[in-house]
Protein backbone atom coordinates (compact mmCIF):
# COMPACT_ATOMS: atom_id res chain seq x y z
CA UNK A 1 0.00 0.00 0.00
CA UNK A 2 1.19 3.42 -0.91
CA UNK A 3 -1.84 5.56 -0.14
CA UNK A 4 -1.24 7.57 2.99
CA UNK A 5 -4.75 8.66 3.89
CA UNK A 6 -6.71 6.67 6.43
CA UNK A 7 -10.07 8.37 6.38
CA UNK A 8 -11.96 6.32 8.95
CA UNK A 9 -11.42 4.48 12.16
CA UNK A 10 -13.11 1.43 10.70
CA UNK A 11 -11.36 -1.40 8.97
CA UNK A 12 -10.09 -0.44 5.55
CA UNK A 13 -9.34 -2.97 2.88
CA UNK A 14 -6.20 -2.73 0.81
CA UNK A 15 -4.41 -4.91 -1.69
CA UNK A 16 -0.69 -5.45 -2.02
CA UNK A 17 0.88 -7.06 -5.04
CA UNK A 18 3.85 -9.38 -5.04
CA UNK A 19 5.05 -8.93 -8.59
CA UNK A 20 7.27 -11.68 -9.89
CA UNK A 21 9.42 -11.39 -12.95
CA UNK A 22 12.02 -13.61 -14.53
CA UNK A 23 14.99 -12.91 -16.70
CA UNK A 24 18.20 -14.70 -17.37
CA UNK A 25 18.24 -17.15 -14.55
CA UNK A 26 16.81 -15.01 -11.81
CA UNK A 27 13.42 -14.69 -10.26
CA UNK A 28 12.85 -11.13 -9.18
CA UNK A 29 10.36 -8.87 -7.48
CA UNK A 30 9.18 -5.43 -8.46
CA UNK A 31 9.30 -3.09 -5.45
CA UNK A 32 8.70 0.57 -5.01
CA UNK A 33 10.75 3.02 -3.05
CA UNK A 34 8.80 4.58 -0.26
CA UNK A 35 9.12 8.33 -0.39
CA UNK A 36 7.16 9.27 2.71
CA UNK A 37 6.89 8.54 6.40
CA UNK A 38 6.51 6.23 8.15
CA UNK A 39 9.32 3.96 7.07
CA UNK A 40 10.42 6.43 4.41
CA UNK A 41 13.35 5.18 2.39
CA UNK A 42 12.48 1.51 2.70
CA UNK A 43 10.96 -0.50 -0.07
CA UNK A 44 7.45 -1.79 -0.32
CA UNK A 45 5.07 -3.80 -2.40
CA UNK A 46 2.84 -1.92 -4.77
CA UNK A 47 -0.63 -1.58 -3.37
CA UNK A 48 -3.71 0.52 -2.86
CA UNK A 49 -7.11 0.59 -1.29
CA UNK A 50 -10.01 -1.40 -2.60
CA UNK A 51 -12.71 0.87 -3.91
CA UNK A 52 -16.24 0.68 -2.63
CA UNK A 53 -17.74 -0.50 -5.88
CA UNK A 54 -14.83 -2.47 -7.21
CA UNK A 55 -14.71 -6.20 -7.65
CA UNK A 56 -11.99 -7.54 -5.40
CA UNK A 57 -9.89 -9.05 -8.14
CA UNK A 58 -10.14 -5.83 -10.15
CA UNK A 59 -8.33 -3.95 -7.47
CA UNK A 60 -4.88 -5.46 -8.01
CA UNK A 61 -5.42 -5.19 -11.76
CA UNK A 62 -5.98 -1.48 -11.47
CA UNK A 63 -2.93 -1.13 -9.24
CA UNK A 64 -0.76 -3.10 -11.62
CA UNK A 65 -2.00 -1.24 -14.63
CA UNK A 66 -1.05 2.04 -13.03
CA UNK A 67 2.42 0.76 -12.25
CA UNK A 68 3.33 -1.21 -15.33
CA UNK A 69 0.87 -0.14 -17.99
CA UNK A 70 -0.02 -3.79 -18.46
CA UNK A 71 -3.39 -5.49 -18.71
CA UNK A 72 -3.83 -9.23 -18.80
CA UNK A 73 -1.55 -10.07 -15.97
CA UNK A 74 -1.68 -13.44 -14.29
CA UNK A 75 -2.92 -12.78 -10.77
CA UNK A 76 -3.67 -15.01 -7.87
CA UNK A 77 -5.00 -14.13 -4.48
CA UNK A 78 -2.70 -15.23 -1.69
CA UNK A 79 -3.64 -14.24 1.82
CA UNK A 80 -5.29 -11.59 3.93
CA UNK A 81 -3.06 -9.92 6.48
CA UNK A 82 -4.88 -8.21 9.27
CA UNK A 83 -2.87 -7.88 12.44
CA UNK A 84 -4.14 -5.00 14.48
CA UNK A 85 -1.37 -2.46 14.23
CA UNK A 86 0.34 -3.97 11.18
CA UNK A 87 -0.06 -0.58 9.54
CA UNK A 88 0.67 2.32 11.89
CA UNK A 89 -1.82 4.52 10.02
CA UNK A 90 -4.89 2.66 11.15
CA UNK A 91 -6.66 -0.65 10.92
CA UNK A 92 -5.90 -1.85 7.45
CA UNK A 93 -6.53 -5.37 6.33
CA UNK A 94 -4.45 -6.12 3.31
CA UNK A 95 -5.20 -8.75 0.73
CA UNK A 96 -2.16 -9.93 -1.15
CA UNK A 97 -2.05 -11.06 -4.75
CA UNK A 98 0.89 -12.42 -6.59
CA UNK A 99 1.37 -11.31 -10.15
CA UNK A 100 3.43 -12.99 -12.83
CA UNK A 101 4.61 -10.66 -15.51
CA UNK A 102 6.86 -10.92 -18.51
CA UNK A 103 9.72 -8.62 -17.78
CA UNK A 104 10.47 -6.18 -20.55
CA UNK A 105 6.83 -5.80 -21.38
CA UNK A 106 6.36 -3.28 -18.63
CA UNK A 107 6.37 0.47 -19.15
CA UNK A 108 9.75 1.90 -18.06
CA UNK A 109 8.44 5.42 -17.75
CA UNK A 110 5.68 4.41 -15.37
CA UNK A 111 8.15 2.38 -13.32
CA UNK A 112 10.41 5.40 -13.03
CA UNK A 113 7.52 7.58 -11.98
CA UNK A 114 6.80 5.19 -9.16
CA UNK A 115 10.43 4.83 -8.24
CA UNK A 116 10.09 1.12 -8.85
CA UNK A 117 12.91 -1.36 -9.21
CA UNK A 118 13.44 -5.05 -9.77
CA UNK A 119 15.25 -7.00 -7.04
CA UNK A 120 16.43 -10.58 -7.20
CA UNK A 121 14.29 -12.70 -4.92
CA UNK A 122 17.47 -13.90 -3.25
CA UNK A 123 18.59 -10.40 -2.38
CA UNK A 124 15.70 -8.23 -1.28
CA UNK A 125 16.07 -4.91 0.49
CA UNK A 126 14.39 -4.14 3.78
CA UNK A 127 10.63 -3.90 3.37
CA UNK A 128 8.03 -1.90 5.27
CA UNK A 129 5.52 -3.30 7.72
CA UNK A 130 4.81 -6.98 7.20
CA UNK A 131 5.66 -6.97 3.52
CA UNK A 132 8.53 -9.37 4.06
CA UNK A 133 6.08 -11.91 5.39
CA UNK A 134 3.76 -11.26 2.47
CA UNK A 135 6.54 -12.00 0.04
CA UNK A 136 7.40 -15.17 1.85
CA UNK A 137 3.89 -16.54 1.73
CA UNK A 138 3.45 -15.54 -1.91
CA UNK A 139 6.65 -17.31 -2.88
CA UNK A 140 5.52 -20.39 -1.03
CA UNK A 141 2.24 -20.36 -2.89
CA UNK A 142 4.02 -19.81 -6.19
CA UNK A 143 6.21 -22.83 -5.53
CA UNK A 144 3.29 -25.04 -4.60
CA UNK A 145 1.15 -23.88 -7.48
CA UNK A 146 3.92 -24.24 -10.02
CA UNK A 147 4.14 -27.92 -9.22
CA UNK A 148 0.56 -28.58 -10.14
CA UNK A 149 -0.38 -25.91 -12.65
CA UNK A 150 1.50 -24.55 -15.64
CA UNK A 151 1.56 -20.97 -14.41
CA UNK A 152 5.29 -20.50 -14.91
CA UNK A 153 4.70 -19.80 -18.57
CA UNK A 154 3.30 -16.43 -17.56
CA UNK A 155 6.82 -15.42 -16.62
CA UNK A 156 8.27 -16.34 -20.00
CA UNK A 157 7.75 -14.94 -23.46
CA UNK A 158 5.23 -16.81 -25.55
CA UNK A 159 8.03 -18.67 -27.25
CA UNK A 160 10.78 -20.01 -25.05
CA UNK A 161 13.52 -22.59 -25.07
CA UNK A 162 13.81 -25.59 -22.82
CA UNK A 163 16.94 -24.29 -21.11
CA UNK A 164 15.01 -21.12 -20.30
CA UNK A 165 12.11 -23.10 -18.92
CA UNK A 166 14.45 -25.17 -16.84
CA UNK A 167 16.15 -22.07 -15.44
CA UNK A 168 12.76 -20.75 -14.48
CA UNK A 169 11.86 -23.88 -12.56
CA UNK A 170 15.27 -23.83 -10.93
CA UNK A 171 14.81 -20.22 -9.89
CA UNK A 172 11.38 -20.88 -8.43
CA UNK A 173 12.30 -24.06 -6.61
CA UNK A 174 15.69 -22.75 -5.58
CA UNK A 175 17.60 -25.81 -6.63
CA UNK A 176 19.31 -27.24 -9.68
CA UNK A 177 17.55 -29.77 -11.85
CA UNK A 178 19.09 -32.38 -14.08
CA UNK A 179 18.74 -31.27 -17.71
CA UNK A 180 18.12 -34.69 -19.18
CA UNK A 181 15.53 -35.63 -16.61
CA UNK A 182 13.90 -32.25 -16.87
CA UNK A 183 13.54 -32.49 -20.63
CA UNK A 184 12.23 -36.00 -20.58
CA UNK A 185 9.69 -35.22 -17.91
CA UNK A 186 8.34 -31.99 -19.29
CA UNK A 187 8.21 -33.25 -22.86
CA UNK A 188 6.52 -36.48 -21.84
CA UNK A 189 3.54 -34.47 -20.60
CA UNK A 190 2.89 -33.43 -24.16
CA UNK A 191 1.95 -29.88 -23.27
CA UNK A 192 4.75 -28.19 -25.19
CA UNK A 193 4.60 -27.52 -28.87
CA UNK A 194 7.99 -27.60 -30.55
CA UNK A 195 8.53 -24.92 -33.15
CA UNK A 196 10.84 -24.86 -36.13
CA UNK A 197 12.62 -21.70 -35.08
CA UNK A 198 15.69 -21.50 -32.95
CA UNK A 199 16.70 -18.91 -30.45
CA UNK A 200 20.36 -18.08 -30.86
CA UNK A 201 21.02 -15.30 -28.38
CA UNK A 202 22.23 -17.62 -25.67
CA UNK A 203 24.35 -20.00 -27.63
CA UNK A 204 26.01 -20.52 -30.94
CA UNK A 205 24.21 -23.71 -31.63
CA UNK A 206 20.84 -22.23 -30.84
CA UNK A 207 17.97 -23.82 -28.95
CA UNK A 208 14.60 -24.78 -30.31
CA UNK A 209 11.70 -22.62 -29.32
CA UNK A 210 8.59 -24.11 -27.74
CA UNK A 211 5.15 -22.86 -27.04
CA UNK A 212 2.78 -23.87 -24.26
CA UNK A 213 -0.07 -25.95 -25.65
CA UNK A 214 -3.11 -25.02 -23.60
CA UNK A 215 -5.42 -27.42 -25.40
CA UNK A 216 -3.19 -30.36 -24.63
CA UNK A 217 -2.87 -29.27 -21.03
CA UNK A 218 -6.63 -28.91 -20.59
CA UNK A 219 -7.12 -32.43 -21.87
CA UNK A 220 -4.46 -33.71 -19.51
CA UNK A 221 -6.05 -31.95 -16.58
CA UNK A 222 -9.47 -33.25 -17.42
CA UNK A 223 -8.19 -36.80 -17.50
CA UNK A 224 -6.64 -36.35 -14.09
CA UNK A 225 -9.83 -34.80 -12.73
CA UNK A 226 -11.90 -37.71 -14.03
CA UNK A 227 -9.80 -40.14 -12.08
CA UNK A 228 -9.67 -37.93 -8.99
CA UNK A 229 -5.93 -38.06 -9.25
CA UNK A 230 -3.27 -35.47 -8.65
CA UNK A 231 -1.46 -33.88 -11.54
CA UNK A 232 2.17 -32.99 -10.99
CA UNK A 233 3.96 -31.10 -13.69
CA UNK A 234 7.44 -31.15 -12.31
Amino acid sequence: MTDISYPTKDIRLAVDCIIFGFSGSELSLLLIHRGFEPEKGLWSLMGGFVKDDEHLDESPRRVLKSLTGLDDIYLEQVHAFGDVGRDPGGRVVSLTYFALIRKETEDEVLLDEHDARWFPITDLPELIFDHQEMVKSALKQLILKTRIQPIGFNLLPEKFTLPELQSLYEAIYGRRLDDRNFRRRILSLGILEKLEEKEKSNSKKGAYLFRFDKTAYDALREDAAKMNVFLTLF
Copy 2:
Protein backbone atom coordinates in the same frame (compact mmCIF):
# COMPACT_ATOMS: atom_id res chain seq x y z
CA MET B 1 -22.39 -14.46 7.89
CA THR B 2 -25.42 -14.36 10.08
CA ASP B 3 -25.41 -10.79 11.30
CA ILE B 4 -28.10 -8.81 9.57
CA SER B 5 -27.04 -5.26 10.30
CA TYR B 6 -24.99 -3.39 7.72
CA PRO B 7 -24.21 -0.14 9.46
CA THR B 8 -22.24 1.68 6.77
CA LYS B 9 -22.07 2.00 3.06
CA ASP B 10 -18.35 1.25 3.15
CA ILE B 11 -16.82 -2.15 2.72
CA ARG B 12 -17.44 -4.36 5.70
CA LEU B 13 -15.29 -7.33 6.49
CA ALA B 14 -16.81 -10.63 7.51
CA VAL B 15 -15.58 -14.15 8.04
CA ASP B 16 -17.32 -17.35 7.09
CA CYS B 17 -16.26 -20.73 8.39
CA ILE B 18 -16.27 -23.97 6.48
CA ILE B 19 -16.42 -26.42 9.34
CA PHE B 20 -15.31 -29.93 8.48
CA GLY B 21 -16.00 -32.92 10.63
CA PHE B 22 -15.47 -36.62 10.16
CA SER B 23 -17.20 -39.65 11.56
CA GLY B 24 -17.59 -43.16 10.38
CA SER B 25 -16.51 -42.87 6.83
CA GLU B 26 -17.99 -39.53 5.98
CA LEU B 27 -16.63 -36.06 5.73
CA SER B 28 -19.26 -33.57 6.74
CA LEU B 29 -19.94 -29.87 7.08
CA LEU B 30 -21.57 -27.98 9.89
CA LEU B 31 -24.18 -25.60 8.52
CA ILE B 32 -26.73 -23.35 10.11
CA HIS B 33 -30.30 -22.88 9.16
CA ARG B 34 -31.04 -19.36 8.12
CA GLY B 35 -34.03 -18.03 9.99
CA PHE B 36 -34.38 -14.62 8.40
CA GLU B 37 -34.58 -12.90 5.04
CA PRO B 38 -33.09 -12.76 2.53
CA GLU B 39 -32.79 -16.40 1.60
CA LYS B 40 -34.62 -17.46 4.72
CA GLY B 41 -34.90 -21.21 5.04
CA LEU B 42 -31.72 -22.00 3.18
CA TRP B 43 -28.55 -23.10 4.89
CA SER B 44 -25.39 -21.10 5.37
CA LEU B 45 -21.92 -21.20 6.71
CA MET B 46 -21.38 -19.85 10.19
CA GLY B 47 -19.91 -16.40 10.10
CA GLY B 48 -19.81 -12.91 11.52
CA PHE B 49 -18.23 -9.54 11.11
CA VAL B 50 -14.63 -8.85 11.98
CA LYS B 51 -14.40 -6.47 14.91
CA ASP B 52 -12.47 -3.25 14.65
CA ASP B 53 -9.83 -4.22 17.16
CA GLU B 54 -9.75 -7.92 16.53
CA HIS B 55 -6.87 -9.84 15.04
CA LEU B 56 -8.10 -11.38 11.79
CA ASP B 57 -7.49 -14.96 12.80
CA GLU B 58 -9.25 -14.36 16.11
CA SER B 59 -12.44 -13.61 14.36
CA PRO B 60 -13.23 -17.13 13.14
CA ARG B 61 -12.14 -18.44 16.54
CA ARG B 62 -14.69 -16.29 18.26
CA VAL B 63 -17.35 -17.34 15.81
CA LEU B 64 -16.55 -21.01 16.25
CA LYS B 65 -16.43 -20.74 19.98
CA SER B 66 -19.89 -19.27 20.02
CA LEU B 67 -21.20 -22.06 17.84
CA THR B 68 -19.46 -25.12 19.21
CA GLY B 69 -18.08 -24.10 22.56
CA LEU B 70 -14.68 -25.23 21.37
CA ASP B 71 -11.30 -23.53 21.64
CA ASP B 72 -8.19 -24.84 19.97
CA ILE B 73 -9.67 -25.54 16.62
CA TYR B 74 -7.47 -26.05 13.59
CA LEU B 75 -8.14 -23.11 11.31
CA GLU B 76 -6.77 -22.09 8.01
CA GLN B 77 -7.52 -19.04 5.97
CA VAL B 78 -8.79 -19.89 2.53
CA HIS B 79 -9.89 -17.02 0.34
CA ALA B 80 -11.46 -13.59 0.31
CA PHE B 81 -14.73 -13.31 -1.57
CA GLY B 82 -15.64 -9.82 -2.58
CA ASP B 83 -17.93 -9.64 -5.56
CA VAL B 84 -19.88 -6.43 -5.51
CA GLY B 85 -23.40 -7.57 -4.73
CA ARG B 86 -22.48 -10.99 -3.41
CA ASP B 87 -24.37 -10.05 -0.27
CA PRO B 88 -27.62 -8.19 -0.95
CA GLY B 89 -27.29 -6.32 2.34
CA GLY B 90 -24.34 -4.19 1.26
CA ARG B 91 -20.73 -4.42 0.25
CA VAL B 92 -19.37 -7.21 2.34
CA VAL B 93 -16.03 -8.80 1.71
CA SER B 94 -15.94 -12.18 3.31
CA LEU B 95 -12.83 -14.03 4.34
CA THR B 96 -13.27 -17.75 4.53
CA TYR B 97 -11.55 -20.09 6.94
CA PHE B 98 -11.79 -23.79 7.04
CA ALA B 99 -12.00 -25.44 10.41
CA LEU B 100 -11.26 -29.03 11.29
CA ILE B 101 -13.02 -30.24 14.36
CA ARG B 102 -13.39 -33.52 16.13
CA LYS B 103 -17.04 -34.34 15.94
CA GLU B 104 -18.61 -35.24 19.24
CA THR B 105 -16.49 -32.71 21.06
CA GLU B 106 -18.86 -29.93 20.14
CA ASP B 107 -21.55 -28.57 22.40
CA GLU B 108 -24.94 -29.97 21.33
CA VAL B 109 -26.89 -27.31 23.16
CA LEU B 110 -25.10 -24.50 21.40
CA LEU B 111 -25.58 -26.23 18.06
CA ASP B 112 -29.30 -26.50 18.71
CA GLU B 113 -29.49 -22.86 19.68
CA HIS B 114 -27.98 -21.95 16.34
CA ASP B 115 -30.13 -24.39 14.45
CA ALA B 116 -26.95 -26.04 13.21
CA ARG B 117 -26.67 -29.43 11.56
CA TRP B 118 -24.06 -31.69 10.05
CA PHE B 119 -24.39 -32.55 6.37
CA PRO B 120 -22.34 -35.07 4.44
CA ILE B 121 -20.05 -33.25 2.04
CA THR B 122 -21.48 -35.34 -0.75
CA ASP B 123 -25.03 -34.27 -0.05
CA LEU B 124 -25.24 -30.60 0.87
CA PRO B 125 -28.44 -28.57 0.93
CA GLU B 126 -28.86 -25.35 -0.99
CA LEU B 127 -26.68 -22.62 0.46
CA ILE B 128 -27.13 -18.86 0.53
CA PHE B 129 -25.22 -16.33 -1.55
CA ASP B 130 -21.86 -17.65 -2.75
CA HIS B 131 -21.41 -20.11 0.09
CA GLN B 132 -21.45 -23.03 -2.28
CA GLU B 133 -18.42 -21.62 -3.99
CA MET B 134 -16.76 -21.02 -0.66
CA VAL B 135 -17.23 -24.65 0.27
CA LYS B 136 -15.82 -25.76 -3.03
CA SER B 137 -12.65 -23.74 -2.68
CA ALA B 138 -12.20 -24.78 0.94
CA LEU B 139 -12.52 -28.42 0.04
CA LYS B 140 -10.00 -27.99 -2.72
CA GLN B 141 -7.56 -26.41 -0.31
CA LEU B 142 -8.18 -29.13 2.24
CA ILE B 143 -7.39 -31.76 -0.37
CA LEU B 144 -4.20 -30.06 -1.48
CA LYS B 145 -3.04 -29.34 2.04
CA THR B 146 -3.77 -32.83 3.26
CA ARG B 147 -1.33 -34.19 0.72
CA ILE B 148 1.56 -32.21 2.09
CA GLN B 149 0.76 -31.58 5.73
CA PRO B 150 -0.60 -33.89 8.40
CA ILE B 151 -3.67 -31.79 9.14
CA GLY B 152 -6.12 -34.65 8.81
CA PHE B 153 -5.34 -35.71 12.36
CA ASN B 154 -7.32 -32.71 13.54
CA LEU B 155 -10.43 -34.48 12.36
CA LEU B 156 -9.69 -37.62 14.33
CA PRO B 157 -9.51 -38.33 18.03
CA GLU B 158 -6.03 -38.26 19.49
CA LYS B 159 -5.86 -42.02 19.24
CA PHE B 160 -7.09 -43.58 16.05
CA THR B 161 -6.78 -46.78 14.08
CA LEU B 162 -5.28 -47.18 10.64
CA PRO B 163 -8.60 -48.14 9.07
CA GLU B 164 -10.05 -44.93 10.47
CA LEU B 165 -7.19 -42.90 9.09
CA GLN B 166 -7.57 -44.54 5.73
CA SER B 167 -11.30 -43.83 5.67
CA LEU B 168 -10.53 -40.21 6.39
CA TYR B 169 -8.14 -39.93 3.47
CA GLU B 170 -10.65 -41.69 1.27
CA ALA B 171 -13.37 -39.29 2.31
CA ILE B 172 -11.19 -36.26 1.66
CA TYR B 173 -9.83 -37.43 -1.67
CA GLY B 174 -13.13 -38.90 -2.73
CA ARG B 175 -11.71 -42.19 -3.89
CA ARG B 176 -10.84 -45.59 -2.50
CA LEU B 177 -7.30 -46.40 -1.51
CA ASP B 178 -5.65 -49.80 -1.33
CA ASP B 179 -5.32 -50.82 2.31
CA ARG B 180 -1.96 -52.53 2.02
CA ASN B 181 -0.41 -49.71 0.06
CA PHE B 182 -1.90 -47.14 2.39
CA ARG B 183 -0.50 -48.82 5.46
CA ARG B 184 2.91 -49.32 4.00
CA ARG B 185 3.14 -45.74 2.85
CA ILE B 186 1.88 -44.02 5.96
CA LEU B 187 3.87 -46.23 8.31
CA SER B 188 7.05 -45.82 6.31
CA LEU B 189 7.00 -42.12 7.05
CA GLY B 190 7.55 -42.91 10.70
CA ILE B 191 5.19 -40.24 11.94
CA LEU B 192 2.75 -42.58 13.66
CA GLU B 193 3.31 -44.01 17.09
CA LYS B 194 1.78 -47.44 17.55
CA LEU B 195 0.14 -47.96 20.91
CA GLU B 196 -0.48 -51.17 22.80
CA GLU B 197 -4.20 -50.63 23.03
CA LYS B 198 -6.76 -51.83 20.59
CA GLU B 199 -10.00 -50.26 19.56
CA LYS B 200 -12.72 -52.88 19.41
CA SER B 201 -15.86 -50.97 18.59
CA ASN B 202 -15.58 -51.54 14.86
CA SER B 203 -14.53 -55.15 14.76
CA LYS B 204 -14.21 -58.24 16.83
CA LYS B 205 -10.54 -58.60 16.30
CA GLY B 206 -9.88 -54.98 17.20
CA ALA B 207 -7.50 -52.55 15.55
CA TYR B 208 -4.36 -51.10 17.06
CA LEU B 209 -4.52 -47.49 18.05
CA PHE B 210 -1.96 -45.01 16.80
CA ARG B 211 -1.02 -41.51 17.74
CA PHE B 212 0.43 -38.78 15.54
CA ASP B 213 4.08 -38.21 16.40
CA LYS B 214 4.66 -34.51 15.94
CA THR B 215 8.34 -34.66 16.83
CA ALA B 216 9.02 -37.23 14.15
CA TYR B 217 7.04 -35.23 11.65
CA ASP B 218 8.91 -32.03 12.43
CA ALA B 219 12.21 -33.80 11.87
CA LEU B 220 10.95 -35.19 8.58
CA ARG B 221 9.79 -31.82 7.43
CA GLU B 222 13.05 -30.18 8.37
CA ASP B 223 14.99 -32.72 6.36
CA ALA B 224 12.82 -32.04 3.36
CA ALA B 225 13.20 -28.29 3.81
CA LYS B 226 16.98 -28.61 3.98
CA MET B 227 17.05 -30.29 0.64
CA ASN B 228 14.47 -27.95 -0.87
CA VAL B 229 12.43 -30.97 -1.66
CA PHE B 230 8.69 -31.58 -1.57
CA LEU B 231 7.16 -33.65 1.14
CA THR B 232 4.16 -35.73 0.19
CA LEU B 233 2.34 -37.59 2.91
CA PHE B 234 -0.08 -39.54 0.86
